[in-house]
Symmetry: C2
Subunit: 679 residues, 2 copies
């Protein structure tokens, strides 16, 4: 066991079975002890020692029968644990995550309130604190909690951002109705009286200044009156329809609807979120991406200028840290600089949310065990990369600390079981704008500091498993969120992805040619295969769709390797598609005319923690499997697999399940064996 990381996971062969069993057993034993020592004088309602009645026996027979069926069915699951799986964002889970989940599930706490989860709500505060420290939020000012997943975390981000965005309007009308006025900071640094501001400047107040208005109004008028007046003018109370009428009545021109800026790479949950919130998908404005699939900061600036010239207010900008499709890490620092420039030069500002559901845990790599930040140079030493992580990458991750909100999924690169998302808000006051009081949960807390017991006031979900918190807590306590702990897993998968990227570049795919999207920012590698006979973009896409299908999980799990694919759509991805097609030379040019169809690219998420030093070399095996799948496409296209195999000058193929090891090397794929052809 050369790599200490290897003791963190059950292992592809269940190598750490004894450790997991030991933990599960002690969880169950202590749980039973807890039950048995709680009012031990209470007699058992279940006659101990007696034989079960026939009816009770029948129940057990049914349970065992259906359980056996469940276990049998589960055998047809996708083997995420294996290095052969590099598909979606799923891999091993830590033993800590598995055992922590199980241990707490026995107690079944509901983390909506300390009243029903006194232990795990405290642990949730601690988890939020650990995540906040990792990205660099000030724990005394921020707020965070776990969600069922990234969509809910992103939803809460935009829900709060919208309320903060419209808060100055409510404050202005509230102040007017109370006959008071207060000062407010404008994005260009000047200060104005709230009552003097027209709608446009009111919709361009920085989030922190927007939230300051609350306390300013409390100082100017009695607090209950302020609360009432704010409430009666808020969007949450009025709803969009009446709110719009209020805007038109009070400000003349209600202005066009506020927009949300996002890169074309943004997760599809954003489309759901803007539709559900009533913002409307027309108001989800896609900022073009550059060749590396990152949001183009120059394009962002141009978009802001254009929106400003049309007097269209910007509610929020969603930047991504680890896009779902390519793992691309936006240059968040430059995006923040664009906003600062917009504040200075245009008087325009907005909430910046980082959707770091996938990539957020990369921040663990940037932290030294003492909590300080590593320099980019030190990061390169740690990772063993001559040129990576780049200065820009380090700066982009560091910039998370300046985003107004961040979403991070423990059930992705946190390696804990579903369901575990997380939402972090830099300025905790924002949550008050979405607070709802549950009547039946205690609104007071016996604790002097902290507010975990009433978490339900501020979150969207009404119930959530404390078990998920315990899983995340245990995993992060065991393997701290720094470069000596969890960061090693991140570094190892990033290295493996770079190895795959390099291998794709150095391998001989003839008669195919491989085109790689870009160096992975994290651990997702996108690429496509090309063959000179493919004279349309459709045909090119069909080749890669076939490779994908061949390398997809099927009912028998017979695919030797598993990856997935995505479609780079036009125009959102034009910045990435055009250079790819251009690299094909003349062929590529002819494809450009069909760019509206989009480009299918293969996608390998290299997040197995054992990938980097795997033996056999799964990356080589994957590369080989991709070529074989491509050949099968040609076979189908040209009337016979055998024919094409000959064309491709492949004589005999080794069956990996038989030979036990690949006859391949990193200097090129050498497929050849005399063990007989078998696929």
């Amino acid at each position: 066991m050369s790599n200490p990381l290897h003791s963190l996971f059950l292992g592809p062969k269940g190598e750490n079975e004894q450790l997991l069993k030991e933990l599960l057993d002690s969880a169950l034993q202590t749980h039973l002890h807890w039950r048995r020592t709680y009012h031990p004088e209470d007699p058992s309602p279940i006659a101990a020692g007696g034989s079960p009645t026939p009816a009770a026996s029948a129940e057990r027979v049914e349970l065992r029968r259906h359980f056996a069926s469940l276990l049998l069915q589960l055998q047809r699951s996708v083997p995420f644990f294996s290095g052969r799986y590099n598909g979606h964002m799923l891999s091993e889970q830590t033993i800590a995550g598995q055992a922590g989940y199980f241990a707490a599930m026995l107690y079944n706490p509901n983390n909506v309130s300390g009243e029903v989860a006194p232990v795990t709500t405290r642990l949730e505060e601690e988890v939020a604190h650990l995540l906040a420290e990792m990205i660099g939020y000030d724990p005394t000012r921020c707020w965070g909690h776990l969600t069922s997943g990234g969509t809910i975390a992103n939803f809460e981000a935009l829900w709060i951002a919208r309320n903060v965005f419209y808060h100055p309007v409510a404050a202005s009308l509230a102040a007017r109705s109370l006959g008071v006025d207060v000062s407010v900071s404008l994005p260009d640094g000047s200060v104005a009286m709230l009552g003097e501001l027209d709608l446009w400047p009111l919709l361009n107040i920085r989030p922190d200044s927007s939230l300051d208005l609350w306390e300013k109004l409390w100082l100017a008028a009695p607090r209950p009156a302020v609360e009432n007046a704010l409430r009666s003018h808020s969007l949450a109370t009025l709803g969009y329809q009446d709110y719009n009428m209020q805007l038109a009545a009070e400000f003349g021109d209600p202005l066009p609807a506020g927009v949300v800026l996002a890169a074309g790479t943004a997760h599809y949950s954003w489309a759901k979120i803007v539709a559900a919130l009533g913002v409307g998908s027309n108001q989800l404005v896609f900022v073009p991406v550059e060749a590396k699939c990152r949001m183009d900061p120059d394009a962002l600036w141009r978009e802001i200028e254009s929106l400003t010239s049309r007097r269209i207010p910007i509610m929020a900008c969603v930047s991504t840290c680890g896009t779902t499709e390519q793992g691309a890490v936006d240059d968040l620092q430059r995006i923040l600089e664009v906003r600062a420039r917009a504040e200075r030069e245009l008087g325009v500002t907005f909430h910046i949310h980082s959707d770091a559901c996938y990539g957020g845990y990369a921040a663990s790599l940037t932290r030294a065990p003492d909590g300080s930040r590593h320099t980019a140079a030190r990061l390169r030493e740690i990772c063993g990369g001559a040129h990576w992580p780049t200065d820009q990458w380090a700066r982009s991750i560091r910039a998370l600390e300046s985003a107004d909100s961040v979403s991070i999924d423990p059930h992705k690169l946190g390696y804990v079981p579903y369901p575990a998302g997380a939402f972090l808000l830099k300025d905790r006051r924002g949550r008050e704008l979405v607070a709802t009081d549950p009547p039946y949960l205690a609104l007071t807390t016996s604790r002097e500091n902290g507010d975990a017991p009433v978490i339900g006031r501020f979150i969207f979900e009404g119930s959530k498993p404390g078990a998920s918190t315990a899983a995340t807590w245990l995993s992060h306590k065991t393997t701290p969120l720094n470069s000596a702990g969890h960061g090693r897993i991140i570094a190892s998968t990033m290295k493996a992805a770079r190895d795959l990227y390099a291998l794709l570049g150095s391998s001989d795919f003839s008669p195919f040619r491989v085109i790689r999207v870009s160096q992975p920012d994290l651990n997702i590698v996108c690429f496509l295969l090309h063959h000179p006979s493919l004279d349309t973009l459709s045909a090119l896409n069909a080749l890669n769709e076939t490779i994908y299908r061949e390398l997809s999980p099927n009912a028998e799990m017979s695919a030797p390797y598993m990856i997935t694919r995505t479609r780079l759509t036009s125009p959102a991805y034009d910045g990435a598609i055009r250079p790819l097609l251009s690299s094909l030379g003349k062929d590529g040019e002819s494809y450009q005319k069909d760019i509206a169809e989009g480009l299918t690219v293969l996608r390998a998420t290299v997040m197995n923690p054992f990938s980097v030093d795997a033996n056999p070399d799964y990356l080589l095996g994957l590369t080989d499997a991709v070529r074989r799948a491509a050949i099968s496409f040609l076979g189908e296209s040209f009337g016979g697999r055998q024919l094409v195999r000959e064309q491709a000058n492949i004589q005999r193929e080794v069956d990996v399940t038989e030979a036990g090891l690949f006859r391949v090397s990193r200097t090129g794929i050498q497929v050849g064996s005399d063990t007989g052809e078998k696929r």
Copy 2:
């Protein structure tokens, strides 16, 4: 083991430990077998047999250390498993639920797509089918899926209802832009041409007629053109602000904002949901409740008349089956009749959603094993109730089959671990209006029928644990959703709640008097204590708040029994508060003037599956504990506990932890013992 239900749960003393252990062990063993037989020729990345490195050993030490800490902390959880806990909606979980969750969690499927959860997405379809059959939906027309909880299920209901509500408007404008027209059914049974309808009738089309417009338009114009035109006129695309402008431009008067009707008893999630959706909390119109805390159908009719006279359209009406506070079951049949009358007489209609998150599983009791419905008379035989379940109750549960959508939480009365909510939609076409296509998940399916693999298109969440599905599936397969299966648990807790209700009525609480809210519709009993010395409503509330605090979980879990409390707020609950206060006679009259303060009532959720035949009798113990807690309040109020104990003529109290059994009987609380005073 007299009761076969007793083999379904781990048991308060862990009596069924061996059964759970056996299942956990076989789950782990089959999982390990699965790992080990997947490409067994792949060597292990973890050197087998070798000693762990010092670093790996250190990792294990850390894991064990933090795990021990977690287990120790978990010992301070709330003992939901015990008959002493009758607080929130939490109790035992079935062994099937626990083992099913654990078994599937090892595979960590994500039920957003069949690509990553080929097994558990199929099981989710099956679970949805079982729930649909239980409530009476046509499985060939309906759709259902699991969610993280009731809030998300309710959110999806209103999200879809809103889109269906506005769909005729989009259809009308789409038809106009395409130069076609189609017929549409109006709620009074007549038929009109869509193009002739003004905004008011367009916002009063029955949900099924609204969805019919889709196919009608496809017949009238090319489908892609129809889809485009619909999309460009839909609220989801335009967002509320532009949509409102469209309404004003196309129809002149955009009409007031659409409202959502809900009883004052509605769960607080509805306030969040209308705020988040942009509907606005002003548009959440509370319909008064009657004395039993059910929505008052007459008041509903008056509200509809009033809204109609003001030309305010109704988006949806939320009826509750099992209110969170009182377990009240709305008379859904009468609510449906009110809608039918509104359709006939006023030409007004709306979506009816049943929030059956808590009470939905009561439907299992109404099903015979062959799937047929029991009559109310037969239900009384089954439950052993002379007068319950009532005809009205049976009719109300049966009416779920006519609601347009229903939410039901398996993690409440389904007795499976968190997280497990469920959403059911009667007409599956509605989900298309909220569909979003994820680019990276396969949009095609190899299956000829069914659509589980692409479930992510239609649901709000982007990831969810397949383990939760497995838990629900196994629990419901083992204990079917009928009166011979799961219904027995429901009947048993309903009976226990009625026993508690009766016991409260027959017990001597002197010097206090008990006032009970109403016979429980399900298994929640609400009541309050009164003392003649309390001359204000505040003082009365303070008494009951004190009882609640004394009987709440604390850090030491030293409360002998645990219940919770809620506040009946005014005016929403006036229909329930006024008769309660009146029953106090002259005292009550004097409280009425402070009714705005609301009334605190104690709340016991009697859902422990062992309650009905528990020994010791936890219901008696609870009643006793309530009186003791009340006495402690008097003690605090009048300067010394001891004094009041004497006043109350209680000489010595038995310590239940010492005596082992209560010295109490159902004919009245007889507290007395010579074992020494000790509390």
